[in-house]
Amino acid sequence: MRNILAVADIVIKELYRRKDFYVLFIVTILICLVMASVNIFNNPDIIRYVKSLCLLLIWVSSLVIAITTTARQIPAEREQRTLLPLLAKPLSRSQLIVGKFLGCWIACGLALLCFYAFFGALSASREHHWPVLSYLQAGLMHWVALAVVIALTLLGSLVFAAPSSNATICFVIVGGILFVGRYLDVVALSLQKPWQTIIYAVYFVIPHLEFFDMRKLIIHDWPLIQWRFIGLASLYGVAYAAFFLAAACLVFRRKAVN
């Protein structure tokens, strides 16, 4: 555990010392600010529309942050040869993987905290109410979804050689799951036999990240989800993340690092 935390700490240090991390962050916040200022009519429909746009933007930039920073981790260590002195220490390769995961996940959590706090402040300045628990639920689910995405990207960075191709593949997979994942079973029904089975299998195997998308809760001011469902969904996400991490450790275990 000590080793894992030490690695995670370095990941976070790197992220806050790199300037490119802030750029996306600031751009997102600026766009949200501009959109919020457009809302001059106080028409509830327009407010909802602007809110949904802001939340979409937050989702997209959180995914960009998560995937690009994670995809870089191990390849950068290889390229800059910092992996050699590191692995020459009594640190197992699995500890390194888990440490990298934890570092990226915590960093993304901090980014989410800022995003949601900012979003909350922005909408409170318009509507004068603070549904803190809704934000908490939505943010938490968002964070769990990022755990799955980060673990998947980490696995990809060990399988695919080039970090950019890995990032692209991860974007496509994650985007695909978010947009069409929920319709796959319906699609399968309309197909012929071999394809039907395949699409059904895909439907059951993929992590359904769309479960974690609770933007509607905030946009429409829906009542809170029961906490036990939140707990179950978290377990579901954590299980997938653990599965991808275990696969990453397995792939990395016997890989030559020279």
Binding site: I10, T82, L84, A88, P90, V257
Partner: protein, 250 residues
Amino acid sequence: MNAILKTEKLRVEFKNRETRQAAKVALLGLDLQVNGGEVFGFLGPNGAGKTTTINVLLGFVQPTSGTASLFGINVGQPIARQRIGYLPEMTYYYKFLTAEELLRFYSKIFGLPGPEAERRIDGVLKLVELESSRKRLIKTYSKGMQQRVGLAQALINNPDLLILDEPTSGLDPLGRMKVREIIQRLKTEGKTVFFSSHELGEVETICDRVAIIHQGELKAVGPVNEIMGRRASLEKAFLDIVGYQPQPTP
């Protein structure tokens, strides 16, 4: 004799990614033994397999067959690396950290308790003369300074065995002298040093024993004077052993 570092019939083949066939045999059954308290020089021409041997010892590369152990522990286990210090061939460290932070990170992985870690960090930074730049980011260091950071991190855990891959390459004469002094000092403290080098003059003065490998095979091993025999220098002996034929000048 207490063997601290040992390889038996070590064979390493690098496979071709596409064909999955052995594209290059880097080591063909290497037997090496380094005893406690020795300074051991590991010599061979470029591409002989020195770095590959060291990579196996640190668990970076899986041997195709044969075994390697440190302190009697198979190199596959992370704990085998608890008491060693390692300096890679070309040193690069996290550019976004300062020397102090880097050493603090590594000492955490060795499990050094806080106050002891700080004491060790002060000690090694003083030894490699980087005290004045300890709070600067590593990316602002010169090449020689980076090499010295490498040496500092290799010593952070007060290791009993040091594995150094060409520790003096890229250093100026002063820096080389310094490295030599450090190795000699470690020897008087009873530590074991295993290092590869192309600087035969330096090897001749500081090593107890040397091994010479060529094309993945051990060609000679023993005390420096035995290897030299009646030849004038270690360099002559080295050239003889690897089968160098001087070209007739036209």
